[in-house]
Amino acid sequence: MVNQEKKIKILLAQFPLESHSRGLITVAGMLRDAGMEVILMGNARSEQIIKVAIQESADVVGISSYCGGELALGDELLSIADKEGIKDHTIFVLGGIFPPNNTPRLKEIGFNAVFPPSATKEEIVNNIKSAIAAK
């Protein structure tokens, strides 16, 4: 379990090539407001995201997705995380615009929390905190 006293470190990224960055930047602001340390990575491929997550010892990896690649690339991301040995102690969350019935499938893939466009700041922050507590 991650020490609750420590500042939560979250790496935020989008799978390339994503041009919808407003959601990610807005959420980054919300998480900073909630006292988390945010690393905003922008567009990055799965292997690059995992590499930075390891380098930065991120507690959480957050993905923003609008283009429809969330299932295929989400699966790839978590496979690489597994191979690199960080899946078990890192929280993976995903938000954005995607078909509502992809939510259960994303959880099956291994995302600890999935946020549709209606998610509020409180929901995002609380879900991340409780996912960390549950690990």
Binding site: P16, S19, P99, P100
Partner: protein, 570 residues
């Protein structure tokens, strides 16, 4: 339970749902009533004038929609050229009068489908138009003369390539390219501040944008090669006042370069088109269009030396706000879209691309798009709104608000000037900072309940079967098979085309770029040989000394050596 409580529960409490703000969406403070005192300083001929008369506040044509309704246009783009072609034909039959073309995100920023970063967004939001034959299939059986085409893409390379594709197809069909109609956004500021497009660095984008305007003015006079864009900066965070300032600033910056560097005058170009946003605030949106027309007329005449009526009259093309649409209770989006359409018509716009009610959930379904068209037909034929020009002209409030927006935008423009002009503000990041500040302010208002959004932070309610049905119709993600087929197709193209002809054509693109000649004709010819988008982008970048791949992830194909050989001084 007391009687008082019961009244509250069944909704008799009149204060429930009361007004929470007294300023417009952009923060202009409002009084409860406006009267003649508020516009006492105005002079009709100077500040308003009849429609069709300078400064065009009331509209650019004397009879506006009586003579010509606004262009009904929207993006119709599916994953394959064939699906898109079929949809174009169906929409034209349903009353659509302009075809708004889009490609998938990788193509829009100069990245080809077999690039390692392309997979995620490949075929999402449009076709992968990596070479001329994709456009030929998409436009098969569709007229290219006297139909309005709009190129709405993000990158400047897209404006260059897809304009070239349209011209190349016309020439291959034996048509007169002077009859090509429509517009391209081709806005180097939007490409940077909104999309941060990797295709061309600012210096290349700035030059190609001018090449397109210059070539268009000489060869396709009915085509607007440049439509400065306020929609996307506003959707990214700017308010209405900043949107007006930004779009006017962008237009002034590019046209000043054009006049100085190319000797092309505003009179040679004719009417200018701005693409602007229709936001949630109804009267502010109407006033914004009126103010922008008046401000542009003055800038064109006084700053840019326009002498013809056409060059001073601004056409406004609209994309209604996708940002204002909500996932929660999406049926409500029908009301939002309808109000935005109405504000556009009351504001005298010239073309309208309305967002779809399911747009917060996914790409629009066909039925949602038909609603957009039908809503416009209802505004026209049932509500009789367009029968009279500028019906709000003379309203104390609307005239006062139009003046306020002009004054506010002029203050922002003065600050931009003070900071060294638009290009300096782009390079320094100041423009991007404005967007971020606007976004933050908006988010704070929403969090504090100062801006109520029905279903989101107020009046949440329950969703029933109608709302659920709207959510269920969102688009399907392109299959893995379709993506692999697209990758195979571009590889096949590279193998089957006449490579020596391609090399020769790309050589000319490279030379023209290096020798500061207009690149548009060489790009049109390269397109005809089967040169791909990534190759054209790569060769232009190399002529400026940049690496071939905008993302620096793949190495240059070896044949590009032959393109650039002998051009580096031995």
């Amino acid at each position: 339970m007391s009687t008082h409580d019961a009244d509250k529960i069944i909704g008799f409490d009149r204060s429930h749902g009361g007004i929470v703000r007294s300023e417009t969406q952009a923060g202009i403070p409002l009084k409860a009533v406006y009267d003649c005192e508020d516009i006492a300083h105005m002079e009709y001929e100077r500040d308003l004038a009849d429609p069709g008369q300078y400064p065009y506040t009331r509209g650019i044509y004397p009879e506006m929609y009586r003579n010509k309704l606004w262009l009904k246009s929207f993006i119709v783009s599916y994953s394959t050229p064939e699906e898109t072609n079929k949809a174009f034909k169906e929409n034209i039959a349903a009353g659509q009068t302009g075809l708004r073309l889009l490609s998938d995100l990788p193509t829009q920023i100069g990245i080809e489908p077999d690039h390692p970063s392309a997979w995620n967004s490949m075929l999402c939001g449009g076709i992968s138009s990596y070479a001329l034959d994709t456009y030929e299939r998409m436009l098969d059986g569709l007229p290219l003369e006297n139909v309005d085409y709009e190129l709405a893409h993000a990158g400047i390379s897209s404006a260059l390539l897809f304009y070239s594709f349209l011209v190349a197809i016309m020439e291959k069909r034996g048509l007169n390219i002077a009859k090509l109609r429509g517009s391209a956004i081709n806005d180097p500021f939007r490409a940077r501040i909104v999309y941060d497009c990797p295709d061309f660095p600012n210096e290349i984008a700035r030059r190609i944008c001018l090449d397109l305007i210059e070539f268009g003015a000489g060869n396709t006079p009915k085509w607007k090669s440049y439509a400065p864009n306020g929609v996307d900066p506003q959707q990214s965070g700017l308010d209405a006042i900043h949107e007006v300032a930004e779009v006017l600033g962008v237009a002034t910056a590019v046209y000043s370069d054009l006049i100085k560097e190319r000797g092309v005058n505003l009179d040679d170009i004719g009417a200018t088109v701005f693409s602007m946003d229709a936001e949630a605030d109804f009267f502010e949106t109407i006033a914004k269009f009126r103010a922008t027309r008046r401000m542009w007329a003055k800038i064109a005449k006084e700053k840019l030396g326009a002498t013809t009526e056409r060059a001073m009259s601004l056409r406004i093309g609209i994309r209604t706000s996708g940002l204002s649409l909500q996932t929660q209770k999406p049926l409500n989006n029908a009301a939002r879209v309808t109000l935005q359409i109405l504000s556009c018509v009351l504001g005298g716009v010239n073309s309208l691309d309305a967002s779809s009610i399911d747009e917060a959930i996914g790409l629009p379904s066909k039925e949602a798009r038909m609603f957009n068209l039908d809503a416009q037909h209802i505004v026209t034929h049932e509500a009789n709104v367009p029968l009279v020009v500028d019906p709000l002209g003379g309203s104390y409030y609307v005239e006062w608000l139009t003046n306020e927006i002009e004054e506010g935008a002029n203050k922002v423009l003065a600050e931009i000037e003070h900071r060294g002009g638009m290009w300096a503000c782009l390079e320094s990041g100041w423009l991007r900072g404005q967007i971020e500040q606007g976004r933050l302010k908006e988010q704070q208002e929403i969090n504090k309940g100062k801006r109520l959004i029905v279903g989101m932070n107020a009046f949440q309610g329950e969703e029933g079967p109608i709302n659920r049905a709207i959510k269920d119709t969102s688009y399907r993600v392109p299959s893995k098979k379709l993506r692999l087929e697209t990758i195979a197709a571009i590889k096949r193209l590279r193998k089957t085309r006449d490579q020596q002809v391609v090399i020769g054509a790309l050589k000319e693109v490279y030379r023209a770029t290096k020798e500061a000649r207009n690149v548009v004709r060489p790009v049109i010819e390269a397109a005809k040989t089967g040169a791909t988008t990534g190759e054209v982008v790569g060769v232009i970048r190399m002529a400026y000394g940049y690496r071939y791949d905008p993302l620096g992830e793949v190495s240059m194909p070896s044949f590009i050596n032959e393109v650039t050989r002998g051009e580096k001084g031995g």
